[in-house]
C-alpha cells in the first residue's frame, strides 16, 4: 500500500493553527495596527535598526521563519479543503497549487532571513 503523505501536511497545518491561535491576534495587533499607527508601543518598535537586529539573531530568525512558514502551511491545507468543499474536484491540482505556494513562501522566507547577516 502506498503511504499517505497526509500526516506531514496535517502536522504542518496543526502546528501553524496552534501558533496562530496562541499568538496570532497579538501579532496582527502589533504589526498591523498599534505600531504603524503609533498606539501604545514606542514609535521605533519596528524601525529598520530594531527589526534588522532582531532578524540577525538566530532566535529572531527562527521565530520569524516559524510564523511566516507555519501560517502559510496552515492556510494552504485549509484552502485546499475549502476548494474541494466549494466544488473544485481537481484534487491533485489544488494540492499542488496550495502546497506549492506554501513551499515557495517558505523558501523565500528562508532566503530573505539567511540574507540578513
Amino acid at each position: 500500500m502506498k503511504r499517505s503523505n497526509e500526516p506531514i501536511f496535517w502536522s504542518l497545518f496543526g502546528a501553524g493553527g496552534m501558533l496562530a491561535a496562541l499568538i496570532g491576534p497579538a501579532l496582527v495587533f502589533i504589526t498591523g495596527i498599534a505600531v504603524p499607527h503609533g498606539l501604545i508601543f514606542a514609535p521605533d518598535t519596528m524601525s529598520y535598526a530594531n527589526m534588522h537586529a532582531f532578524a540577525q539573531n538566530w532566535v529572531g530568525k527562527i521565530f520569524l521563519f516559524a510564523v511566516v512558514a507555519l501560517f502559510m502551511w496552515h492556510a494552504a491545507h485549509r484552502i485546499a479543503i475549502l476548494a474541494h468543499d466549494l466544488g473544485v474536484h481537481a484534487h491533485t491540482a489544488t494540492k499542488v497549487v496550495c502546497y506549492g505556494l506554501a513551499l515557495l513562501g517558505t523558501l523565500v522566507a528562508a532566503y530573505a532571513l539567511l540574507g540578513i547577516a
Binding site: 504589526t31 508601543f41 514606542a42
Partner: protein, 132 residues
C-alpha cells in the same frame, strides 16, 4: 447519443443548509486571512533583507488606510480562529485521561483559550518591554 439525463442534485450552497456547516465554513475561511497576513509579513522580511530604504517603504505602506482596514479584519478573523481552534480541539486531539477520568471538552477548550490569552499578553509585554 443518449437521451438519458439523470437528476443530479446540486451541491451549490450546501454549507448554508445547517448552522453546523456554516460554523465549519467560517472556520475554514479564516485561512484566507491567515494566508494574506503571512504574505504581508513575508513582504516585510524580503524588504528587510533589501535594506533600510526598502524596509521603510514597507513600513509606510502599513500606514495606508487600506492596510489598516485589512489588519482590523485580520484581527477579528484571528480572534475567531483562536476561539474556533480551541472550540474544536476536544474533537481534533486524542482523548485524554487524567487520574482515570476523561478530560471534559469544556476543560480542554477553556485551558486552550486561557493559554492563548496568556501567550498574547506575553507577546505584548515582551514587545513593549524591548523598546520602552
Amino acid at each position: 447519443m443518449s437521451n438519458r439525463r439523470p437528476y443530479v442534485r446540486s451541491m451549490d450552497g450546501w454549507w448554508k443548509r445547517d448552522p453546523y456547516f456554516i460554523r465549519y465554513m467560517a472556520r475554514e475561511v479564516t485561512a484566507l486571512l491567515v494566508a494574506a497576513y503571512a504574505v504581508v509579513l513575508l513582504a516585510g522580511l524580503v524588504r528587510l533583507s533589501q535594506g533600510e530604504a526598502a524596509f521603510n517603504g514597507w513600513l509606510q505602506y502599513l500606514k495606508t488606510p487600506w492596510m489598516l482596514v485589512f489588519h482590523l479584519i485580520a484581527l477579528a478573523t484571528f480572534v475567531y480562529h483562536t476561539w474556533s481552534w480551541f472550540k474544536i480541539m476536544p474533537k481534533t486531539m486524542p482523548i485524554m485521561f487524567v487520574g482515570g477520568k476523561r478530560v471534559q471538552p469544556g476543560t480542554i477548550t477553556g485551558t486552550g483559550l486561557a493559554a492563548a490569552v496568556v501567550a498574547c499578553l506575553a507577546v505584548l509585554f515582551i514587545v513593549g518591554g524591548m523598546h520602552p
